[in-house]
Symmetry: D2
Subunit: 365 residues, 4 copies
């Protein structure tokens, strides 16, 4: 069980190494009749493309998505959608030195421990390019959610010590911000911080926040398959994520019950929550308010500064990793978080259809 | 898919409502030959028993575990281990009022939205008693891990604003501490804080930390089934958990790459990490150092203070929830966190056995 | 993965050994709102009870089903339904001799090979009592299917060489027939045959046929999760089943294409098949006609006649198995086949709900 | 859940339509270190290639397999192996007429019922080309099984009424036989029969037999995940299969217990079965003797003869399907049966590794 399959009903299988022939994904369980074409997927994919964000790898990749199956006359057919991106920029020669030691903060050591050897070219399967399949699948999920009036929006909440301020929030600014922050002032400070990091051969992490709107109440299953539990797995499975929190998250651990509880009220004849400390989920089931979560990303492990490592002869050495390094991956990860949320929610929506016998009877009879 | 099944190879199915006949679990995939009996399970179960901890429900429950299958002559047989605890203390009458409104912070509203009605007696399936099955399964997992020299230890890291101090850490004190804290001074302050909460008809949350020792490097699968991703799901699926972080977690998002990376060194002829910011996992695979994570629990939603709610006639009302309320559930949740970690790691260990063809050949040939 | 979990959305976990404390099942994924009580389940369970059928074990068991969870005020709640039957009639002493050798045709040898030892009391987990959990889950599935206008009916098609004749088919006679055959004349001949078998310390097998009516077209997924593929697994997983065929089955292998193809016609403005050689499934998806399959059961392996075996000292020995033996299990297996079909179809119906985006929109919007 | 994922640990996801861009497969869970290259896979793939068998489609396809991921320096890396075959021979024009009606015996009608429309070009996802992904995955599984000394061999047992005779069995002849029969005389009669079918615009079915040798005792799990149950699903999921039987299969239903039971004896100090009516499995677990099963294939539904159908305006019409038609698919299906058996057994072997705590300790400690 190499772990590259996600989801139960809307089931995503990704494959591909950084410097193999191609990377891709098979999406099984997409309903028939969703309008789709390569342009729609490409547009979403482009948000993770190196170069779309200023503080990312200079390496130029086209990352042109191809749909190989599951679509006929502009609509999904209900059968697996296979998509791939051919790797154009191999330059494997860059990576020969890396083969001889373990990069701190990378998965080099653990892959060797697990499998006995590794595809050392560019991180192999644990490269950032692994997310291409996730984002392509996420694009399909976003099309499905769009049909149901559900939106998923992620953005950068903080980079290193620079955090978006609630007072300055301007969601329209996200697209303009080179770091995908919804706050012009914070975005500029974050840029300054990243410039400093780069100059010092160092790197930064950050926090991505994601808001799901339009999700009906009742999605998510009690006990193990809670909406937030599945989101936690989905998001923690993204490389470099070290934490995930829902609603008030870790802050709730310090709050008082009366402050943390969301009272209920009536609005337009409907029961509504009077606040949203819970982040849109109660007992693992969506409560009809915005579903809100945050993911913490560690700093990019590839830094040019000198680091301690061990070589194949088990000698202590100092290394300086050459080549192109992002001082931060957070802005590029924003769309990956969004994609994983979309995939998870789609899967949960499909599972939720058999929750009541009356719903099943309405459907079939 | 009501979501009460967890794990792929070591597979746990829990069932039961707070005020039904019984609560229990079926553990499928437990290897044959593990020494086990009811006393061993009971001992582990008792750590979650109300009354074991001072600041928990006064309600007296025996919670006597029964093993119904899967054990023969003191050893597991390889077939499902069914265990249950009969619910002795129903007192359903207490809950009739609760049926008429939605308690803030509870799953009352979302169960109604999902299923059209709910078992309102004591929270039904989203009651704290749901964790009985988890802990019984965790006890089995702990026996397996014990055979492999792997230990899992959780304790209270903070309650409300009171946090254990690194300087005072004394793991032996955990068992003595009424709040399961490894720090006498913090434990006493936490008790003071909880007394104040109770007096003010309020409640507190907190953070549980868990450390897994002896886990070999190489456990966990790349991409979606990362060790930390599966732990995130397992832990976030515990009621009241709002956040989970691995190693440095959210703090890593503010750190510099050079500070966050763990360099490698050589010790006793073995490659080792020189620090453990990663919390024992790189690329989703265990790296041989301690696996460390923390879970944030929100304050107990059941508070005696007045709260805003809505009744069945969709009228805005004020409620005061009567009855016994814990000012905190964190101490009782410690063993639940431990149990979910043990179950997850056991499952990952079993999956990891087919990682290399040489390992498979050694096993079968 | 000990293999006691079946289904993806409607998920059944059975547990229990022949001579353990109890046998049971947890049904996860049952929709909320299904009217249910112990009497309904008991009635279905009674069809497998020893004694209901004349040619079955004389051993008296009450097999009284208890519902422990998932039901509130006479309706399912959407949470797991746990059910069990306490084993009343242990008499373990009967089985001490069996522990010392391998019974031909039983799973004694393979359990020992797999697990290193076995619960030898009455066959342990591979006893016929293992089907109690299946039938209880099947009873729940039958209630769901009933709400949707779908019926599942199994009966004995043949016992040993005695086969029901198409000309004499009388479905009303099944309940009267001691061997559950829909043909009085064949039933009587089968009884004669079984008497002879018993007298000769021998046993017989047979074929069970099952017909599902009212199944809408479109159920089942292409490729691996075909309706017939999942039924094949479900039915082959019943102890003693050695073959399964759909529609014309093995006879189709000898037919000509023009004879085997079912042409299409129009009836009451609807497209219909003009015959049903396919048995109600085309490309793994139900076609709206009756879904028909047959399962072949081998003769009961427990025979009183002398047989060759090997004892624990690896000596060749002759054995004569003492105690009560059914000369046939087929009549008791009829309800097990029905139950497994009901469980499988329920699971497939739930999965089928997300087949089209228009269906999903109708459901959620 | 569109059903294109198979297996739990060794997990195969196939995709692709007959006349789409490509067909392929992602194999997740292949252990690291298996020697593999495109030639090895191609050689296995070629056994299903049209043209390899005389009585198959004249259409020329290269079916050149490409490995896109999961292989590095000639060995599997433990990450997903993505493979595809580009569809070269589209000629969609051939299929426009087919779009207007339902072909008897095909999945046209059921796809329309399920999904609201279908990719009508060449059968879309229910085309024979869907098996390309299965066979490529099977080739990987065969390499793994080969390392463990396990062989899987399938061949044609019968075509229409022409059956291989036990007396003439010559396994070496299979490769020579244009219909993959291990019996020269039967093979020649089958050829005659197929010529007659073709001349009469008709088609034939047949039976494929498969023998697995070298499988250790103890593989397969009790209850639902029996070895034979999973094989039944795997094989029944192949298009056109209408029946599957293990060992004596349907014949066992007519036998007496004493004839059907396999006694035990001692050979070379080992316990062995004295016969193999069971087909190598007892209680769903392999017993160390040859694992033997048979699959019944219906006649190819595409026949040139006139047939009754219904068109889009729901009018009764007569159709004559033009184009190239195989009079039989059985010989080409032989390798597909073998592939599905190999995939299933590989998955079961991997699951079997955690059956005992002593085995787990030997592995990890």
């Amino acid at each position: 069980m190499a772990g590259s399959v996600f989801g139960d009903i809307f089931r995503v299988t990704t494959w591909g190494e950084s410097h193999g022939t191609a990377v891709g994904v098979a999406v099984d369980g997409c309903p028939a009749g969703v309008r789709i074409n390569e342009e729609m997927i490409q547009k979403y994919m482009d948000r993770r493309k190196p170069g779309a964000v200023k503080y990312s790898t200079k390496r130029r990749e086209d990352d042109e998505i191809k749909i190989l199956s599951g679509v006929f006359e502009g609509k999904t057919t209900g059968t697996p959608i296979s998509m791939l991106v051919v790797n154009k920029d191999h330059r494997s020669a860059d990576y020969t030195e890396i083969a001889s030691y373990y990069r701190p903060g990378h998965a080099d050591y653990t892959f060797d421990m697990k499998y006995g050897f590794r595809d050392y070219r560019g991180g192999g399967r644990s490269s950032g390019r692994e997310t291409i399949g996730r984002v392509a699948a996420g694009a399909v999920a976003m099309l499905i959610l769009g049909e149901l009036g559900i939106s998923v929006n992620a953005y950068t909440k903080s980079i290193g010590p620079v955090c978006v301020s609630g007072d300055n929030m301007d969601m329209d600014y996200v697209k303009e911000s080179p770091v995908y922050m919804p706050d012009r002032e914070a975005s500029e400070r974050a840029e300054e911080y990243l410039k400093k990091c780069a100059a010092e051969k160092n790197s930064a992490g950050g926090v991505v926040e994601c808001v799901v709107r339009g999700l009906p109440a009742g999605i998510g299953d009690p006990v193990f398959d809670k909406l937030d539990a599945n989101i936690a797995k989905a998001v923690m499975s993204i490389g470099a994520v070290k934490g995930i929190e829902i609603g008030d998250g870790f802050k709730a651990a310090q709050a008082l019950g009366t402050d943390n509880n969301d009272g209920f009220g009536v609005k337009d004849g409907k029961t509504v929550k009077l606040s949203n400390h819970s982040g849109g989920v109660l007992g693992g089931i969506s409560d009809g308010s915005d579903f809100v979560f945050r993911a913490a990303f560690k700093p990019t492990p590839s830094v040019a500064a000198k680091q301690r490592s061990v070589n194949r002869s088990k000698e202590q050495i100092d290394i300086e990793i050459k080549g192109r390094h992002d001082p931060v991956i957070v802005p590029r990860a924003v769309v990956v978080v969004e994609a994983m949320a979309a995939v998870t929610i789609t899967d949960m929506l499909f599972k939720g259809m058999s929750a009541t016998i009356s719903g099943i009877k309405d459907f079939y009879c």
